[in-house]
């Protein structure tokens, strides 16, 4: 059992009798220090996509899955192809990639997740380093890190970064939340 707030994209949980792979998980504080997690998930039996909401401290049954360390290789529409150290290829449907698409680059090390021998999703490292390809110029004098502005990385994903960040800067991003963590020297 795991708490709902610990469930990540790519995990498979049981909802009733259905194993469901998590495509998206959003955490929101509801009230009085409680929180809820909204999940978009896909049935591994029927293939249908549904949304659910759980309290953050709900216990959910996590299905133990096989994993394999791989690197991202190429996109063969509509499949994303990953390769392990022995050059075996594994294909994951684009629909099952979730937020991983925001950070996907050739050679990105990650884990492919298998359910009954089938590659069903990808789990990224908790953080990745990416280069800012566009952001508005830095505002002189503001180095507090509290004022944020949008920045685009090379996958086209946009996220808020501190005002002092510039084009060409490398930043560390938390892949679980999509949030800026730090500027990498």
């Amino acid at each position: 059992m795991k708490q709902a707030q610990e469930v990540r994209v790519g995990n498979v949980i049981m909802q009733g009798k259905d194993p469901m792979v998590i495509l998206k998980a959003e955490y929101n504080k509801s009230g009085r220090n409680a929180a809820v997690v909204k999940m978009k998930m896909k049935s591994l039996l029927q293939g249908g996509v549904t949304e659910t909401v759980l309290r953050a401290d709900d216990k959910v049954e996590l299905v133990m899955l096989d994993r394999k360390e791989v690197t991202y290789s190429y996109f063969a529409d509509p499949l994303y192809v990953f390769m392990d150290a022995e050059y075996n290829q594994f294909e994951v449907e684009g629909e099952n990639m979730g937020d991983a698409l925001n950070y996907l680059q050739d050679g990105l090390p990650c884990e492919v997740v298998f359910y009954e021998g089938r590659a069903i999703s990808v789990e990224l490292p908790n953080s990745v380093v990416r280069e800012i390809v566009y952001t508005e110029p830095a505002v002189r004098g503001d180095t507090s890190g509290k004022v944020m502005k949008p920045a685009k990385i090379d996958t086209g994903f946009e996220l808020p970064v501190p005002a002092f960040c510039e084009i060409g800067d490398k930043i560390e991003i938390d892949t679980r939340t999509g949030e800026y963590r730090s500027r990498v020297k």
């Binding site: 009733g16 504080k29 009230g31 009085r32 220090n33 909204k38 659910t52 909401v53 759980l54 709900d58």
Partner: protein, 369 residues
């Protein structure tokens, strides 16, 4: 046969949980004719807002079966599972009750009120937990047609109008031993706050005299102690008043010029009162409450007449909740009261076009998952 509803309420602190649950129970019974059983773990808290409640295992109050929710809850004393089960604020149902729930039971997690945009996307969704056959549905109150709305008695607006037309505030205040004079009347129903001394000092700067009414408790004690501690200019008088029953709380709000309210139920009622108000939101770890406050303020001010300046209201709310209040915030709020009064009436009218929470809840529970 009348469907039976069980509402489970755990009193975590203060009176917010029981305030919402008791109002919900009353509305479901009075306006929808439902057989309601309310399980409360702290009847003393219930008694404060409903003096008819006595400390015992089982009683009927205003047509509602009120049951004490003991630590050793058992189905032997609880009887059957109801057709609809409300898990108020996700307090968690007793394990024995959960185990006894059949797969077709309607189990609803009534959530906290929030104006944040994500609420609409979560409202109405359900989930399944390993230890229960029935799915659990989530019902979120809110400020848009895509949420569960707010609780409102069918005659609330008419009653308020009659109260105002009859000039009934003086008579109501007299029942609390409060004189009905021309002073600015402010209800202070808030959590303990570092801003209290600043607010009292600011009120005492005048020039308009202020009568501050504070429900008995820690806040009243601290304000009265502050006022007694040193000589004053005399522009502010504070009075501790007894807790009024929930049925009379609206009349108290209607009798004020400004309501400083807290939590959820009094916050909603202050909006129905159509009077200027300040919201002392329940503080949360990591400042999560400030995002909720800002989300509400954005909705509240977006609905305003472009000519009216509500900035003093936003500034006061933010400063009060951040603990950075200054005398200038109070004086600006006071100067903005005519515009705020006008907007408060517009806002209450706008809210009355939204779904009424208990009606929406009854419809929601009638639909299959």
């Amino acid at each position: 046969m009348t469907p039976r509803w069980d509402i489970f309420c755990k009193v975590v602190d203060n009176l917010g949980d029981i305030g919402v649950c008791w109002r919900l129970a009353r509305l479901l019974h009075d306006e929808h004719g439902l057989a309601v059983r309310l399980w409360v773990d702290d009847l003393a808290a219930h008694q404060r807002i409903c003096p008819g409640v006595v400390i015992c295992d089982s009683q009927v109050v205003s047509g509602i079966e009120v049951r004490h929710w003991p630590d050793d809850f058992s189905m032997a004393t609880a009887g059957q599972v109801a057709e609809v089960v409300i898990d108020a604020f996700g307090c968690g149902l007793p394990a024995a009750y959960l185990a006894a729930m059949p797969a077709d039971a309607v189990w609803v997690n009534l959530e906290y009120l929030s104006a944040e945009p994500w609420v609409a996307a979560c409202h109405g969704l359900h989930s399944r937990l390993p230890d229960c056959a029935a799915p659990r549905r989530f019902f979120f109150p809110g400020f848009t047609p895509h949420t569960g709305g707010l609780m409102r008695e069918h005659d609330l607006v008419a009653r308020r109008q009659r109260f105002e037309d009859a000039g009934a505030a003086s008579a109501f205040l007299a029942t609390l031993g409060v004189p009905a004079d021309a002073r600015l009347k402010v209800l202070l129903f808030c959590y303990p706050s570092v801003c209290l001394p600043t607010l009292i000092e600011a009120m005492d700067e005048g020039p308009a005299p202020v009568l501050l009414l504070i429900p008995e408790g820690a806040v009243a004690q601290s304000v009265l102690a502050q006022l007694a501690a040193k000589p004053r200019r005399g522009f502010v008088e504070a009075r501790a008043i007894p807790f009024v029953p929930q049925e009379s709380f609206d009349e108290l709000l209607w009798s004020m010029d400004v309501n400083i309210v807290r939590g959820e139920d009094s916050f909603v009622r202050a909006q129905w009162a159509a009077k200027p108000f300040v919201w002392h939101i329940y503080p949360q770890e990591g400042g999560a409450h400030l995002a909720k406050l800002e989300a509400f303020m954005a909705r509240y001010t977006a609905a305003s007449d472009p000519q009216s300046n509500l900035k003093p209201w936003s500034d006061f709310n933010l400063a009060w909740n951040e603990g950075t209040l200054t005398a200038a915030h109070w004086h600006a709020l006071k100067a903005a009261l005519p515009a705020l009064s006008h907007h408060a009436q517009d806002w209450a009218t706008r809210l009355s076009t939204l779904p009424e929470l208990t009606s929406a809840l009854v419809q929601f529970c009638a639909k299959p998952v």
